[in-house]
Symmetry: C2
Subunit: 285 residues, 2 copies
Amino acid sequence: MTEAHYPVPWTEAQRGRLKALLADDDLLQRTFAHEEARDRAFRDAERELVQKERERLARFRAEVRRPSLCRLQEALSAALREQGFLQVATPTLMNRSLLARMGIDDTHPLSRQIYWVDGDKCLRPMLAPHLYVVLKDLLRLLPHPVRIFEIGSCFRKESQGHQHAGEFTMLNLVEMGLDPARREEHFRRWTSLVMETAAITNYRLESAPSEVYEQTLDVMAGDPPVEVASGAFGPHPLDGAWKIRVPWVGVGFGLERLIMAAENRPGLARAGRSLIYLDGISLHV
Amino acid sequence: MTEAHYPVPWTEAQRGRLKALLADDDLLQRTFAHEEARDRAFRDAERELVQKERERLARFRAEVRRPSLCRLQEALSAALREQGFLQVATPTLMNRSLLARMGIDDTHPLSRQIYWVDGDKCLRPMLAPHLYVVLKDLLRLLPHPVRIFEIGSCFRKESQGHQHAGEFTMLNLVEMGLDPARREEHFRRWTSLVMETAAITNYRLESAPSEVYEQTLDVMAGDPPVEVASGAFGPHPLDGAWKIRVPWVGVGFGLERLIMAAENRPGLARAGRSLIYLDGISLHV
């Protein structure tokens, strides 16, 4: 908020353009004594923001050459493998029957957010069902505990209608067959490893009700705090459908949210897969 | 083929089980003097193959801890960035209008292989349309040549009905705004970089007609040789729809095919995203 409140705000077109150029809230809420002052301020602000994005793009080209989303995936994979986790890569399409085993049927709140494909398949809204399938075999074939993770796209229709917010990137890690007395300790250990790898120093845990797991332990980070991860413990009533009968701990992280919290930048769309932003840099300049 | 031809082949069930355990063709084609000999051979072969897969899984757990698919993605990204390529990450869902701009309408042969989602979107069958969108902006904002790539899942319905063969992993690299006289030289340079990174020493180029680009330069590798990549040059009639008017070279690689060719192992499903195989190791043992 500015201190003085003049009568003339940005026009809708000006506001839209400044937003696309990633103007901060202070600038978006500025008001002016008259239209001429406003239009002059708009031209200055636009030129400055465009220049800033071009400089960021030049740095991106000279230095990192890939989005934070890709860098973070690689760093998380290395950190988890170092701790004995095995990386798996399961299909993006998920069978309806696997969703049903997660308790997600037509009456479930999440069911309205599912993208259906070809009748009996959907775009996976979460990684857990496929991890259950793989774990059922791995628990039989490997010494316990078994630690696995997957990093990949998940899809949920968003009611807000934000472009491309329907796709996001999940890291889901699961440790099965561990000492049940150490579940919370391990939950904290793996969460801390991920947060450190994502360069987030400030976060807190929060108990919350869940549509799938009844109760979860959420990880809140950023300013203002957003939920960047959600953890659950087993044995759990859902396990029976997968014939899994060992204690476990699992945590799902939203990578775009981790990036937002680490870089303290607004707008989920900027961190995710996009045709308009490259590593959060606007290409419409 | 074995040398002696006995009258008794494997039963269908035995054959299916041996196939799932990744038996080679010699074993699958064995025949026997009588059923008792066959059933004894089956038990021996099954035990041996199961043991082999368990040993491979133990090595996977002790050593690499992630599928070749993930390792290759990371290695290719690093090698290309080293050469000045920028990595982009675009959405998995593609708008119908972008497909149409690639000349893929309802009468196009590829149209029968498209997975439609929510009416006007599809699972991208290729990366090129999204790369065109991003390149249109980058060509305006960066010095030429502009080099970009994306690595990610693409989707095509397969008529054969192989499970999960509908999803595969593409690397598409594009260099735009280069000297047109050096297009073939650069095509060979970037192809050689990718093949070397994928540890494929033996490959050849082959001209071929294309459903999208009219004419492509394909890369054949493996034994027997399969098409592991397909390249095209511009300016090209499709460019007009994207308002792109500079010379370019682009190559799309199938990562699962690169892995098959490098490791000389059969079965595309084993190299790809799967619920049954982990880094090509059967979990149904």
